[in-house]
């Protein structure tokens, strides 16, 4: 059958529309990431090789340093770990992924557009799968923009970081965000309620962060820190150790589990009621 392109819109599939709808938001989040990276890079010269700063940091309590990921603060990787990857960058990515993931199907149900979408011959599973894929691509683009800025602009402020540690940290942050976004998608797909999906996922995210960060301080938490996806992503310190295949595999499996749960849950429900 004959089709004709209309304008420049890329609207061939639910996947394309989902990205198309979020194009401005994705540009905004990417610029936010660029701004975060640029700010941190701009501040780096004041700590780099600054002995007073080193002494000050050394004088902090071990607990403080452990919780905030502060080690080797005046070196490039140590600075990035403390200022970018221990909290801020993953937090922003998680917020993006959870807001978006919770909206993917539950938003269509709450706004009522699910009716007109389901008027098309598209299976529920395909809707969820394509929306999940759009989420994954969007998160990857925003995460990548952070890595690119650091890799490109870092040397200009004498911030040198190896390819492995940098991209291992970026990938870990991105997969962590995708995992929580997929959890929010699954909860939204299972209930049709965006607020609930966001609330529960936010609690999971906070618990995961605290478990991973406190495990360095609280001895009885250490044996259970593997329960925290934050631990598998950033608790294992990719900035020092590079890619950690086992831990990444755990995260990928969890992402897959959430995506499958979303597919199954959405397939077995009354929509938009």
């Amino acid at each position: 059958m004959r089709r004709r392109e209309v304008g420049s819109a890329h609207l061939h599939s639910v996947f394309e529309r989902t990205l198309h709808e979020q194009r401005r938001a994705l540009v905004g989040w990417s610029l936010g990431m660029v701004a975060l990276a640029a700010t941190m890079l701009a501040l780096y010269p004041t700590v780099h090789g600054n002995e007073q700063f080193s002494k000050l940091i050394d004088s902090y309590p071990e607990a403080f340093k452990s919780f905030f990921g502060v080690a080797d603060y005046t070196s490039g990787p140590g600075y990035l770990r403390a200022e970018v990857f221990s909290f801020m960058a993953p937090l922003l990515l998680v917020i993006l992924a959870v807001l978006w993931g919770s909206d993917l199907t539950a938003g269509e149900e709450e706004r009522g557009t699910i009716d007109v979408l389901m008027a098309n011959p598209v299976s529920r599973r395909r809707i969820v799968a394509e929306k999940w894929a759009a989420l994954a691509v969007g998160v990857a683009v925003v995460a990548a923009s952070l890595g690119v800025v650091i890799a490109v602009a870092g040397p200009a402020v004498s911030l040198h970081v190896g390819w492995g540690p940098l991209w291992a940290s970026v990938v870990a942050s991105g997969i962590l965000a995708l995992l929580l976004g997929s959890l929010a998608l699954a909860l939204g797909a299972a209930t049709g309620r965006r607020g609930m999906a966001r609330g529960v996922t936010a609690m999971v995210a906070v618990a995961a962060y605290l478990l991973s960060s406190l495990a360095g301080l609280v001895s009885w938490l250490r044996p259970v820190r593997w329960l925290s996806p934050w631990y598998h992503a950033l608790g294992v310190d990719p900035m020092a150790t590079g890619f950690r295949p086992f831990h990444l595999a755990v995260l990928v499996l969890l992402v897959a589990a959430c995506a499958v749960a979303a597919l199954v849950a959405f397939d077995h429900r009354d929509l938009g009621t």
């Binding site: 004959r2 004709r4 557009t113 389901m118």
Partner: protein, 310 residues
């Protein structure tokens, strides 16, 4: 039943079959034991007050919600098991129409055309100009009537075999309503099937061949429109200068229902009006109205008729 008199002869199977379909909600509402056949070439009007179960039935047809009991087939396809195949044959206009507000109508219709792999832009453009639809403004800037037109165009495009319309003319001005009714008749004349819901009788009376009455989730009657109207063609209300005798207007032909209260009389007339008018002439009429019955009166007339034959 159906368009038995059409040139195509007797269709061999119904286009839509609901077989003992029930769907109950915890908070109340839903439908109970709905059984219906709708035939190709037929416009079936689903008539009932708001909250009676019309939208529930339609959303069951689209596999948006699943029945507790019973099965639904569209063109022989089980709407649960063959959901995608069934929906490929259906054009659907939701009752509470929500669209992707930030898209233009052109973008939305293009997107849906791709998802369906069917309609060409030539066809969409033709429908859009038929309804004089503005294509290039964001949908959020369109009036309710224009949004409804977007919904109608997406339902009609691709010439679906079965058209399911939930309150299709709500929010439309009379001129556009007329266009919609004509489009519906065209679809049926084409041998395709239309299932439309409405809470207003005149709309159904105008376009439908048969009508199903639904109340409190139960289909209480399925009638040819002309038969249904036969139950009460006119309502006559009159007031007189003096109180009436209890048996006034008692023996008139074609009067189905009669209520005398003091100096007023309420008549449901199925036959010719002439005898009623002659009888009225014998009294000192102060006030008089003759009108077509509204939905509620139609229901009442129908029940009374059913009671009388029972």
């Amino acid at each position: 039943m159906g368009s038995l008199d059409s040139d195509r002869g007797i269709p061999d199977r119904p286009a839509i079959v609901l077989d003992d379909v029930s769907k109950r909600y915890r908070g109340g509402g839903g439908v109970d034991g709905v059984t219906l056949d709708v035939w190709p070439g037929e416009v079936f009007g689903f008539l009932g007050p708001n909250g009676a179960g019309k939208t529930t039935t339609i959303r069951l047809l689209l596999d948006l919600i699943r029945p507790d009991r019973g099965t639904i087939t569209v063109l022989g396809l089980d709407t649960r098991r063959d959901s995608v195949a069934a929906r490929r044959r259906i054009g659907y206009l939701p009752g509470e129409l929500a669209l992707y507000d930030r898209m233009t109508a052109r973008e939305l219709l293009t997107h849906f055309a791709y998802l369906r792999g069917g309609p060409t832009w030539e066809e969409i453009g033709r429908l859009a100009s038929q309804f004089s639809l503005e294509l290039d403004r964001p949908i959020r800037e369109l009036s309710k009537g224009n949004r409804q037109k977007v919904g109608l165009v997406q339902a009609l495009m691709g010439r679906p075999d079965v058209l399911v319309l939930d309150e299709p003319t709500s929010g439309l001005d009379p001129l556009v309503q007329h266009q919609v009714h004509r489009a519906i008749r065209d679809v049926a004349a084409d041998g395709r099937t239309v299932f439309l819901s409405s809470h207003v009788l005149p709309e159904v009376a105008q376009v439908a061949d048969r009508v199903g009455l639904i109340r409190d989730g139960r289909v209480i009657a399925v009638e040819r429109v002309q038969d249904l109207r036969g139950h009460a063609a006119h309502i006559v209300d009159a007031r007189f200068a003096a109180p009436l005798a209890d048996d006034a207007f008692g023996d008139l032909p074609g009067v189905d229902g009669r209520r005398v209260a003091g100096d007023t009389v309420h008549l449901e007339v199925t036959g010719p009006l002439a005898p009623v008018v002659r009888e009225l002439g014998r009294f000192d009429v102060v006030d008089l109205s003759v009108r077509e019955p509204d939905l509620e009166e139609l229901f009442l007339a129908f029940y009374e008729g059913a009671d009388a034959t029972a």
